[in-house]
Symmetry: C2
Subunit: 105 residues, 2 copies
C-alpha cells in the first residue's frame, strides 16, 4: 500500500538490496522486522517491491526515531544475519522529505 497524506518535513529510509542464494529464514525475519518497525515511536509507514532488486522505503517522524530503530536489539541481530547470509549487496540511504505529491483516481 502506498503511504500517503504525510506532511513534510519527515524522513525516508531507502533500503535497496540484492539477495544471495541463501534465503533461509529471510521471509519470516522480514515480516518480523516489519511488525517490529510498526511498533516503534516515530514510525509512519513502509512500502516494498522486489524485482531483480528489492526496494523498501520506510518513513519516520525524525532522525532520532531512525537511530533508535537502528539500535533495536532484534533489528541489529537481523542486520548482522542479513550481511552474513541473505544479501549479496545493499545500500541504505537516509533522507529528509522536502515535498510530496499524490495522485489517486
Amino acid at each position: 500500500m502506498i503511504v500517503t497524506h504525510l506532511e513534510p518535513p519527515y524522513f525516508a529510509v531507502i533500503f535497496t538490496t540484492l539477495l544471495s542464494n541463501d534465503q533461509t529464514d529471510y521471509q519470516s525475519t522480514a515480516m518480523r522486522m516489519k511488525e517490529l518497525a510498526e511498533q516503534q515511536e516515530g514510525y509512519l509507514g513502509m512500502e516494498s517491491a522486489r524485482g531483480d532488486l528489492g526496494i523498501t522505503v520506510s518513513y519516520w517522524k525524525d532522525l532520532s526515531s531512525i537511530t533508535n530503530w537502528k539500535h533495536h536489539l532484534e533489528h541489529s541481530e537481523a542486520r548482522t544475519r542479513g550481511k552474513q547470509q541473505w544479501y549479496s549487496q545493499y545500500q541504505l540511504i537516509i533522507c529528509k522529505v522536502e515535498r510530496a505529491y499524490g495522485f489517486e483516481k
Copy 2:
C-alpha cells in the same frame, strides 16, 4: 543495479505507483523515460522494482535538476498520459539524502 558511491548531499525522487488495467504503451514509455532521464544534467542514477506496487528511485545532483526534468516536454506528456491511463494511484516524493551506507560481499 544498485546505485552506489554517491556522496551526500544529493537528492532522491521516490516514485511509488499502483497500475491500472490499461497498460498500452506503458513499458515502451517507461523505457523511453529512463533513457531520457539518463541524458539530463544532474542525473545520478535510478533503481526500480515492482511487486503489488512499483517503486522507482531516481537520484539527482540538486533540486534544479529535478525541476528541469519535471518540465521536460516529453516527460510532461508521459506524466499526463500516466494519470489518464496507466496509474490508478501514485505518490512522488522529493528528498535530500543526508547519509548513505553501502554493503557488498
